[in-house]
């Protein structure tokens, strides 16, 4: 061991130098290391656009982005990067809370109240000529884009633009109708007709006592919209003005008693056994409707994608979901209106550039191109003849009519909406199976949800104070 080793028995100086070098490298990496560039080498502003779509939907949106980059983006020095983001609303929440959001986010329509009330997204009506205008959009779409701003005395402001839209209608199998002696061009209009058609389409093994072989209509297939049925009986779930949930209102009770009666007709265990044979993912040839197990199903326009891919020969029709007798009016069909939305988060670095891109997506040409590629209805106030003629969903006119109907409805506009949905999803099963009386189930959801609404109102007051 030499002189140097005695003074440095552990090789400390060397290690210290190594640690120092490592620390400096780490610090340098943190400060100057690679990160999402916000400005390209050619001086263009780079916008990060988070979107949930993958597959063919993602490819269609990527085309829109590419075309923007090649045209308007080229002229105005903007380049959009399309970034597929699973769980986009949850990740957006975390990114915005962390102060490092993307520039544009493609979210779900029900996210708007939560993000708007918390100031997590920017009102789009502050962008002058770039702002969205009400007359651009279908009647049922506009309320999705607006929400009161609690920080501006409750003034209703515009927070989002629609990206694509979907209304919910009744698909029915025309061949199954013919086989049951029903007119395939005359789908059911009222609940009474619906029940009658459904009964005639049902087939059971062993003359009625055995397993279900073919069902007319099951509320639980696919069961994505457990909460809509009251609206088809003239009810609703929420009065936004008074901030009162109306879940256990009489119209809703009537609707879910009808649902419970349907469940009782099939028998919960028998229906569950029957349904367990369907694919868990709707995009499958084992989808109950595609597999001719269920004759009528409540679904959005996108189902045509699955039909065209797996069973292009399926002879289907589309009609508004039936309503109670008193509500029937062919000029004012009832149905759920949903859209995907584009928003600009707070702390977005280039909001004007973000709006340039968003406005581009709202032009008729782009909106209709995207809707066609996704097989969805239009979100615009008027669909072009070409859009209707070329659309691959043969029922697109019906979906458009719901979007433009004064009786098109949207989900309750409150940030506690997830609790509405959870309560209805869970209790729909109990009502369907008959394990809990309808009134008691709806009373329970009402109580839980109203508690959440009240807590939210109290929290808002505390924050404003």
């Amino acid at each position: 061991m030499g002189e140097h080793d005695h003074d440095n028995p552990l090789g400390l100086y060397t290690r210290r130098a190594a640690m120092g070098t490592l620390a400096a490298a780490g610090l340098g990496f943190a400060l100057f290391g690679p990160r999402g560039a916000r400005e390209a080498r050619d001086g263009k502003i780079v916008l990060d656009y988070w979107e949930k779509w993958t597959g063919h939907e993602g490819r269609a949106m990527q085309k829109v982005v590419d075309r923007f980059n090649a045209t308007i983006g080229e002229q105005k020095g903007i380049r959009v990067r399309y970034l597929v983001t699973a769980g986009v609303d949850q990740k957006a929440m975390i990114a915005i809370a962390g102060g490092d959001p993307p520039d544009v986010i493609g979210m779900y329509n029900y996210n708007v109240p939560q993000f708007a009330e918390t100031g997590a997204i920017r009102p789009l009506d502050e962008f002058g000529d770039l702002s969205p205008k009400q007359d651009q959009y279908a009647q049922g779409v506009w309320p999705i884009l607006t929400h009161p701003d609690p920080k501006d005395n409750g003034r209703v402001r515009v927070w989002a633009t629609p990206n694509t839209g979907g209304t919910i209608c009744l698909y029915y199998n025309k061949d199954a109708f013919k086989a049951a002696g029903l007119d395939p061009e005359r789908p059911p209009r009222t609940i009474a007709e619906f029940d009658d058609y459904s009964k005639r389409l049902d087939r059971f093994a062993g003359g009625g006592s055995g397993d279900i072989e073919h069902a007319g209509f099951l509320h639980t297939e696919p069961g994505w919209w457990s909460w809509i049925w009251g609206y088809h009986f003239g009810g609703n779930l929420y009065d936004a003005a008074s901030e009162k949930a109306t879940i256990n209102a009489d119209a809703n009770v009537r609707a879910y008693e009808w649902l419970a009666a349907t469940g009782a007709k099939y028998g919960a265990a028998r229906a569950e056994r029957f349904k367990s044979g369907f694919a868990t993912a709707y995009s499958s040839p084992l989808n109950g409707f595609l597999d001719n197990k269920v004759a009528m199903v409540a679904q959005g326009p996108w189902l045509a994608n699955v039909i065209n891919e797996f069973k292009p020969g399926l002879n289907y029709g589309v009609a508004p979901i039936p309503v109670s007798e008193a509500l029937y009016d062919p000029a004012k069909p009832v149905g759920l209106v949903e859209t995907d939305v584009l928003v600009v988060p707070r702390d977005a670095r280039h909001p004007e550039a973000s709006m340039e891109f968003i406005r581009y997506t709202q032009t008729r040409e782009i909106a209709e191109e995207l809707a066609t590629a996704h097989m969805k209805n239009t979100v615009l106030s008027h669909a072009s003849d070409e859009f209707i003629a070329k659309h691959p969903n043969r029922g697109v006119a019906v979906f458009n009519a719901i979007a433009n109907s004064p009786r098109g409805f949207i989900c309750p506009r409150t940030r506690v909406w997830p609790q509405f949905k959870k309560g209805m999803d869970e209790n729909m099963q109990f009502m369907w199976k008959g394990t809990v009386p309808v009134r008691a189930a709806l009373d329970e959801v009402q109580s839980i949800v109203q508690g959440a609404v009240d807590r939210n109102a109290a929290a808002r007051k505390r924050r404003l104070a």
């Binding site: 028995p9 552990l10 400390l12 290690r15 210290r16 640690m19 769980g87 949850q90 929440m93 975390i94 915005i96 809370a97 939560q114 993000f115 918390t118 100031g119 997590a120 639980t220 297939e221 696919p222 069961g223 994505w224 457990s226 265990a269 569950e272 056994r273 029957f274 349904k275 367990s276 044979g277 868990t280 993912a281 940030r415 506690v416 997830p418 609790q419 959870k422 999803d425 869970e426 099963q429 839980i448 929290a459 505390r462 924050r463």
Partner: protein, 302 residues
Amino acid sequence: MNIGAGMKSDALRGEKTSLAGWLWISPWIVGFLVFMLLPMAMSLYYSLTDYPMLEKPLWLGLDNYIRMMSDPDVIGAAGRTLLYAAISIPLSIFLALVIAAMLVSRVRFVGALQSMIFLPTLVPLAASGMVWLWLLNGQYGLINRVLGLFGIPGPNWLGDFAMGSLVLISLWGVGQMVVVFVAAMQEVPESLYEAAELDGMHSARKFWSITLPMISPVILFNVITLMIGAVQVFAVPFIIRSATPGGDLKRMEFYTMVMYDHAFVNGQMGYASAMAWVQLVVVLLLTAIMFAMSKRLVHYRG
């Protein structure tokens, strides 16, 4: 070399040694402080606030904890979680012990069998969730098909039998415990078994009176880790619930799932943080109870 200078040099060397030690473990310390202690301290603070993430936290005191006491979702999910733990832990331990005992009793192809039993623990939870989803399918599932061959009508596993199905899935992952039990059983001194044979003990008695007491510390370790895992059960029921829309959601809702919903769906991070702290306290309490019970039931050699 004078003595004073030598002592100074030793002290300096000691300090340098100590500094070097701290430097070498500093990545772990920094990681622990930044990614464990600080988030825990922040979540404790958030648990006392209304914190929707998108806005600043507002002080609530103990309101979140008080609300939990009467929240039917939380109470129901906690009950289901404890029930799941109460069923799955003893069954898992029992099954792992039986398999381990079979493996150490000189059966052929022990290595291959051990590998086969261990293999499922290497499968990612998300993948195993999807596989079980199909195995347990009421109409097309393999399990019901096999039962059908014997004329047994299989239940709708993911419906009325959801809890049983999840316990069944948990049993699929006992391989890791089996490996630990086999190692522990092989460490039991052969002389004890020889003495027992001289006393005329039969196999079952030897297992009960020698093997179990001798491996009891390992059993305790496995019970505690299983308990922690069971109280936090999340991935498999979450995947199955997500993949069965229209299914009976309540039956598959466990405590951590409700916590997740509050944090990332409802935007109530304060409430979710309170739930997390209650979960931690429950785990600590159950662990303490197990350690207290172990004084009578667990035998440490020496």
